[in-house]
């Protein structure tokens, strides 16, 4: 699993990468996940659905990340624009 963050003027940045089924790596992922949420970022998981369709899930804790997720994308919180 990769934790990515969308960065201004850069594109995505890999924050952490690891196998969540391995205890040590899971802890690193979980810690980084919590850090991003504490910074106000939203965690979104792109999900491949049947027949090639795609959807996404907004997750509020590391435990909510669907099993098998390959990436979690941290996005700045959406706000009303001008």
């Amino acid at each position: 699993m990769r934790l990515l963050r969308l960065e201004s003027g850069h594109g995505e940045v890999v924050l952490a990468e690891g196998d969540p089924t391995v205890a040590g790596e899971r802890e690193v992922l979980r810690r980084e996940f919590s850090h991003q949420l504490s910074q106000g970022m939203a965690a979104l998981v792109p999900i491949a659905a049947p027949a090639g369709s795609r959807r996404a899930a907004l997750v509020r804790s590391f435990e909510e990340v669907p099993s098998g997720a390959e990436q979690v994308i941290f996005v700045p919180p959406a706000a009303g624009g001008a």
Binding site: L6, H10, P76, P77, A78, A79
Partner: protein, 202 residues
């Protein structure tokens, strides 16, 4: 005569030396950032690389049709998911997602535009997100939490930030794209098909 020739030769030699001394600087300018130059210095390729990186991520996350739509039209159509819920039109509706511009909600059957939903992602130190990342962020939010996104959006009358004529033309271009996409899907050895299967996170 000899003295004039000597002076001329000296002048030519001096000009050649000046040109030679300038060459490494010009070469560095063409090839990239010289060693030791500050990281924050202007890099004309930075935004392009960021956009390419963002486009690769967008392609990996959205449906094949949406990706091709973005490549051909510059925007993405996303179907609304709240129809019939009492919080949205009872009929099928959709959004046009543009980079760094408000979402446009419309009814595909009639091409009637419902309104503009302005959402933004607070700028970080480096300025706005690359265009494809801005689009991806809107797509992810819409697919994950459409209602939450609409609650945060500022709603404007159609024409506030978008040029109505341009949007109407985009809806016509979208219809043409959809016809062409369907034709591609039903063509033998179709290129738009994507294997099905159980939902899996990507």
């Amino acid at each position: 005569m000899a003295a004039a020739l000597a002076v001329g030769l000296l002048l030519l030699a001096a000009l050649a030396l000046v040109a030679f001394a300038e060459r490494p600087g010009r070469l560095r300018g063409r090839l990239g950032r010289p060693a030791g130059q500050a990281v924050g210095a202007y890099d004309p390729g930075r935004e392009l690389r960021a956009q390419r990186r963002a486009e690769r991520l967008l392609e990996a996350c959205v449906e094949r049709e949406a990706w091709e739509m973005y490549r051909e039209l510059g925007f993405i159509r996303v179907w609304g998911g709240l129809a019939g819920s009492g919080r949205a039109p009872a009929v099928e509706y959709a959004y046009l997602l543009y980079p760094h511009k408000p979402l446009v909600a419309f009814i595909p059957q009639t091409a009637e535009v419902i309104g503009e939903y302005c959402v933004s992602f607070p700028a970080q130190a480096g300025g706005p997100l690359p265009a494809a990342d801005d689009l991806l962020a809107k797509w992810l939010y819409l697919r994950a939490d459409e209602e939450g996104l609409l609650q945060r959006a500022n709603v404007h009358l159609f024409g506030t930030r978008h040029d109505p004529a341009r949007v109407e033309a985009d809806i016509r271009r979208l219809r043409a794209f959809e016809r062409s996409w369907q034709a591609r899907l039903h063509r033998p050895g179709r290129e738009g098909s994507v294997p099905g299967g159980e939902p899996t996170a990507v």
